[in-house]
């Protein structure tokens, strides 16, 4: 059994116990433990079930490469699935639960898959569920999705906060092992502004566990000195618990800081996303140990040798009394020595190599450990935990020579440099035969805009697996001196540094293992991919590593193949009879480790999920109980329902009241752009389809804007303010877009025209005073003459109203007597209140956007976004009157002359009234005879606006109809959502006050 040792543990604080639960079971650990070390200390070797076969799985690793120990962490609003026990810091009160099993971890029904393993080979799903076709979507996929999956998705909102932050530096160093620390130090020496990121809570990387001294100093002293030196420099920022997970073009790096994972609920953000712009990037990300592929290598108790010594040295955790070591390289001997030093038994070291002669093997022998060379594990005994191993010759086929009882197996199949960050932006890799691993090719790094290297690699990440080479490498790559080091010089420097470590390839153990053993050798623990699966894929013709990956799912789990990729490649290459460099590797993509969605969202949730634009009167509308709708990023009152009223009833009341008495509309969102200059008239004549240059000062004119293709883009009323100044009103959603459109033409095309624009949309609160009593209200407020004679329809005037500075436009979007009044926004709320108060005696009521829509539809006024959808030209809408025939050009003119747009067969705008008075459903089509090639009903038009008109007490609609204007009084049929059709008569678009008498009083 695994347990806590009575002494040691450099990271744990035995005076600070931490209680936690695992599957409801109470356990104890110490501050400084990871969840994984604490579980092992409590003899919890079984931590989860595998994805496909539901095999019992234990902790394999001690870092972010861990494939098995994924847990549901926390509960309720703090539940997080798929958290790695090996990187989760223990805290008092932590709650963890295992995943992927039913009904319990100890007894899992899904394990029957394990016995049916021969029926679930690689590509099983592809082969089995392809026929009959419809079954996949409706039968197979739902069932598979339910049985698959790792952790539970949280069902409530996340209780935690997240934030992001931007940082800038000359040199970003990723990884604070010996190489990273030295690189940061020398970069700082050279005067650079440095950021050093370390994913672990403490600095040093593997050195405190694997080394005794660095540069002649005891390792702990050396680390303390370097850390103190860096901390004292104000040009260096060190951030621990921060994992750089993605490198992007132009030195952009994303990093995930686990600010409060270990202190939940303390008010700090749980994670912080760092968005770093670095001059250059040095990765010192180390190497990840590889498993060995022997039968039963997934049984709980089989761990990576480096992880075993991490747990012994860092956390004083024993994996068991007796640990058998199996390796193809010297580093695992460190584990044997560490176990021995902790007073534990190492019955044997099985070394797959024919000879083991280095200093470490000699030290092991000197410590009295039995070293067996040329040996391999034939199989591991045990199901939920290791009970022993059977030994065979590595060169053979697995004939058992000896059995050894043990509680744990520590394996090392060599080390794979962490090349991910180097590769994200296109850095190329080399295969290094000496250590049987891919290493970054310093001659082909990812490049900056100027062709210099964006990412450099030092330390074990560069394939330098011994301390001497690491130290020499950091110095000789010239980190400190480099300003413009050329690739070639650097490559020469790196070639001069050779690691003394040699790791022969051992992809299958024993090398001649029969199928019975190969189908128990796990490559990818999380996705349950075995050696036999990859070999089957090769036999079935999968030659590309990318195809094999997808077919077998090798390396596609949440660990992204950190342990399995190289072993899988080795097996595939052997099966194909090719060399690994020819087979190649799969693509490394960000993120390096999974990043919780909250981190990426940052602050953007709840109230500040997105900017919400409010008018100056917004608070007043809220008080009035307005029901809001989004219009772009604005929130506008849709209607102002009174107690007991439905929204429909409120809209009907608002329409009728406006038509009969007085309505008030908050029109502040309307776009307002000032255009000024000697060439402003000419400019507007190009932008609008009509002529604006001839508009007299003091008058208003309705205008249409098209894009270059000729499609209608925006509309609004233009007022001429002065000889060289116009004010252009745009739609509410269009203000920023049209302002940008104007500047685009002025800055990029007509840069020699003397025109300035200013978007003053938000400078003004704008209120529409609408209805028969509109003039009376303005007269009650008093201050300026708004009579028919002084201020006739389509004119504007400056003055004061009720003491407020006002610009009054006599324009109407409702067909009623109407004034739109612009007031400085800082007075908007007060003016609105004054209008409501003064309007009481005149029957004033505020109305919302829906009443506005109904009234404009009753008048046959078009609405951008309803009558237009990016495929409609003004001519389709019968707006030929607003298009100048005299002008030589305007934006969209040539587009509209193209054959399809000039075609008389286009759908054109008409009005519709249903024969039964009902309302045509939104989006309905006018059906035609027959069906098209897809078996769909032919159509000849569609509705664009459809409302119940409270004024006319019936449904009214506008829509586009083929040859519409020539088909008056014809009866056509609209389809409905529920099937069937609605009959409607074609008519003109103006349903109410066709002669416009009401607005012109």
């Amino acid at each position: 059994m695994s347990t806590r040792l009575s002494k040691g543990g450099r990271l744990i604080d035995r005076t600070a116990p931490a209680e936690f639960t695992f599957n409801g079971k109470h356990m104890r650990g110490f501050q400084g433990d990871t969840l994984a070390s604490a579980l092992l200390a409590n003899d919890q070797m079984l931590v989860g079930r595998s994805f496909k076969y539901h095999r019992p799985r234990g902790i394999v690793a001690s870092g972010p490469e861990e494939p098995n120990a994924l847990v549901n962490l926390g509960t309720g609003a703090r539940l997080e699935p798929n958290q790695r026990a090996t990187t989760t810091e223990l805290f008092d009160g932590l709650e963890a639960a295992s995943q992927n099993h039913w009904p319990s971890l100890e007894f899992d029904v899904g394990v029957v898959n394990n016995y049916a393993a021969r029926f679930l080979p690689a590509g099983f799903y592809y082969k089995t569920f392809i026929h009959p076709r419809p079954f996949w979507k409706h039968v197979f996929e739902p069932i598979i999705r339910r049985s698959a999956g790792l952790g539970k998705a949280p069902t409530t909102g996340d209780a935690d906060r997240y934030e992001q932050a931007y940082a800038f530096c000359d040199v970003l160093v990723v990884g604070a092992g010996v190489a990273g620390l030295l690189a940061a130090q020398s970069a700082a020496d050279a005067g650079s502004r440095v950021i050093l990121l370390e994913q672990a809570p403490s600095l040093g990387g593997r050195s405190p566990v694997d080394e005794t001294s660095v540069q002649g100093q005891p390792v702990d002293d050396w680390l303390a000195a370097v850390e103190a030196d860096l901390a004292a420099r104000d040009t260096v920022t060190i951030r621990t618990r921060t994992c750089a997970f993605g490198v992007y073009d132009h030195g952009y790096v994303l990093a995930d800081e686990r600010v409060a994972d270990h202190t939940p609920g303390d008010g700090r953000p749980k994670h912080r996303l760092w968005r770093i712009r670095a001059g250059r990037i040095i990765t010192a990300t180390g190497a990840i140990e590889r498993p060995l592929s022997f039968a039963g290598n997934d049984i709980p108790g089989v761990m990576l040798a480096g992880a075993v010594r991490d747990y012994v040295v860092n956390h004083a955790v024993s994996p068991g009394d007796r640990t058998v070591i199996v390796t193809n390289n010297d580093s695992a001997y460190l584990t044997a020595l560490a176990l021995k030093a902790a007073g534990l038994d190492v019955p044997a070291i099985l070394d797959a190599r024919e000879a083991a002669t280095g200093a470490l093997p000699e030290a092991a022998r000197a410590a009295g450990i039995r070293v067996l060379t040329g040996k391999a594990i034939a199989s591991v005994h045990g199901t939920k935990r290791v009970t022993g191993v059977a030994i065979c010759a590595q060169a053979g086929e697995g004939a058992v020579q000896e059995e050894i009882a043990c509680e744990a197996v520590a394996m090392s199949g060599g080390w794979s440099p962490v090349v991910h960050l180097f590769s994200h932006c296109g850095g190329k890799l080399l295969w290094d035969d000496g250590i049987s691993a891919f290493i970054p090719d310093p001659a082909r790094p990812p490049l900056h805009h100027d062709g210099t290297a964006m990412v450099e690699v030092v330390g074990a990440a560069a394939g330098l697996l011994d301390l001497g080479a690491i130290l020499q490498g950091v110095v000789s790559t010239g980190i400190s001196a480099r300003a413009q080091t050329k690739g070639r010089r650097k490559q020469a420097a790196i070639e001069a540094v050779k690691t003394s470590v040699s790791i022969p390839p051992v992809w299958v153990m024993p090398q001649g293992a029969p199928i019975a053993l190969r189908s128990k050798m796990w490559l990818d623990y999380q996705n349950d991919v075995k050696v036999s699966d990859v070999q089957l894929a090769a036999r079935e013709g999968y030659q590309s590593v990318e195809h094999t990956k997808r077919y077998t799912t090798l390396g596609m789990a949440t660990d992204q193949g950190k342990l399995s990729n190289i072993n899988g490649l080795g097996v595939l290459a052997e099966a194909l009879g090719e060399e690994i460099p020819q087979v190649g590797t799969t693509t490394f993509r960000p993120p390096y480790t999974p990043v919780t969605i909250g981190t990426l969202a940052g602050e953007a949730r709840g109230e500040i999920f997105q900017p919400l634009r409010r008018t100056p009167m917004h608070a007043s509308h809220e008080t009035s109980g307005a029901y809001f709708e989004p219009v772009g990023l604005w929130r506008r009152p849709y209607c102002f329902p009174r107690a007991g009223e439905t929204h429909d009833q409120a809209v009907h009341r608002e329409v009728l009241n406006t038509r009969q008495n007085l309505g008030l509309l908050d029109a502040s969102t309307l776009g307002k752009i000032i255009v000024k200059g000697p060439d402003a008239g000419r400019f507007l004549d190009m932008l609008y389809t009509g002529v604006m240059s001839t508009l007299p000062i003091g008058k208003c004119r309705y205008g249409l804007m098209c894009n270059e293709q000729g499609f209608l883009s925006d509309d609004g009323v233009v007022a001429r303010l002065a000889e060289d100044t116009w004010l252009c009103h745009t739609t509410s959603g269009g203000a920023d877009r049209i302002h940008g459109w104007m500047e685009d033409w002025l800055q990029c095309e007509w840069w020699d025209w003397q025109v300035y624009t200013a978007n003053v949309t938000e400078q003004y609160a704008q209120i529409a005073v609408v209805g028969p009593n509109a003039r009376k209200l303005l007269q009650v407020l008093g201050g300026m003459d708004v009579s028919k004679e002084t201020l006739p329809f389509m004119q504007w005037a400056d003055g004061t109203l009720g003491g407020f500075p006002a610009r009054v436009y006599r324009i109407s979007f409702s067909g009623e007597l109407s004034y739109e009044i612009a007031i400085p926004a800082s007075h908007g709320a007060a003016f609105w209140a004054a209008c409501i108060e003064a309007g009481k005696a005149l029957g004033a009521m505020p109305y919302g956007t829906e009443a506005l829509h109904v009234m404009r539809a009753e008048k046959g006024f078009i609405m951008i976004g309803d009558e237009t959808d990016g495929t409609v030209i003004p001519q389709d809408l019968g707006l030929d009157w607003a298009i100048s025939k005299k002008k030589a050009d305007y934006l969209g003119k040539r587009g509209q002359e193209r054959s399809f747009l000039a075609n008389p067969d286009r759908w054109k705008l008409v009005g519709f009234e249903t024969l039964d008075g009902s309302v045509i459903p939104d989006g309905a089509y006018v059906v035609a005879q027959g069906t098209n090639a897809n078996g769909q009903r032919n159509v000849q038009g569609r509705v664009t606006s459809t409302y119940y008109s409270p004024t006319l007490k019936r449904g009214i609609a506008m829509g586009l109809l083929n040859h519409g204007p020539t088909r008056m009084d014809e009866v056509v049929e609209f389809n409905t959502v529920l099937g069937g059709t609605v009959r409607a008569r074609v008519r003109d678009t103006v349903f109410y006050d066709k002669d416009g008498e009401k607005q012109n009083v």
Partner: protein, 182 residues
């Protein structure tokens, strides 16, 4: 006439930095380029020099910021905008320019405290360590456009009025106690 009210009516938040909505301030957008009388116009309106590229000239409660090669932001007391506009009009005469009152279109915030810069570091993709003392930085805070500059030991930040609530929400979120970056 009522007193002018700012978008959030002086909302404040105390975290590791203090956030205050201030204003309303008088603001004028002045668009002009390569005019001989431009210096005179700016001097007459707010009493400062014409700022260099990306700089702001501050003088008491008045300032002039460089916004683009042909745009300046003039800042002055709210009640003095009309006078300043008249002064600009007089100085520039018929030369091609545009000067408009945008006082009501903006919201203005002060961010104060020893770690005030950290609030901006969380929201704006700006290398604040390299911000010049008299630099006016046009950038974004999360999803909206802002401009800010260092002043009186803190920062002054300007956003559009309609998103004042969003901007205050961002600043509040970023200034939560105990969350300074260093």
């Amino acid at each position: 006439m009522s007193d002018p009210v700012s978008a959030l009516q002086g909302a404040t938040f105390d975290g590791f930095a203090t956030i205050r909505e201030i204003g309303p301030l008088g603001m004028i957008t002045l668009r002009a380029k390569e005019l001989k009388s431009l210096d005179k116009a700016i001097k007459a309106a707010v009493g400062t020099k014409t700022p260099a590229q990306r700089r702001i000239e501050v003088k008491g409660d008045r300032a002039c910021g460089w916004m683009s090669p042909d745009e300046y932001l003039l800042i002055l007391p709210y009640g003095e905008v009309a006078t300043a506009l008249a002064a600009i009009g007089k100085a520039l005469g018929t030369a091609h320019h545009l000067a408009v009152d945008v006082s009501d279109a903006r919201a203005v915030f002060r961010i104060e405290g020893a770690a005030a810069a950290d609030v901006l570091r969380k929201l704006c993709p700006v290398d604040i360590d390299r911000l010049e003392p008299d630099e006016l930085r046009r950038s974004r805070a999360a999803q909206v456009a802002v401009a800010f500059w260092a002043q009186d030991g803190g920062f002054t930040l300007v956003s559009f009025r309609s998103v004042a609530g969003y901007a205050m929400g961002l600043l509040t979120h970023s200034a939560q106690p105990g969350t300074a970056l260093s």
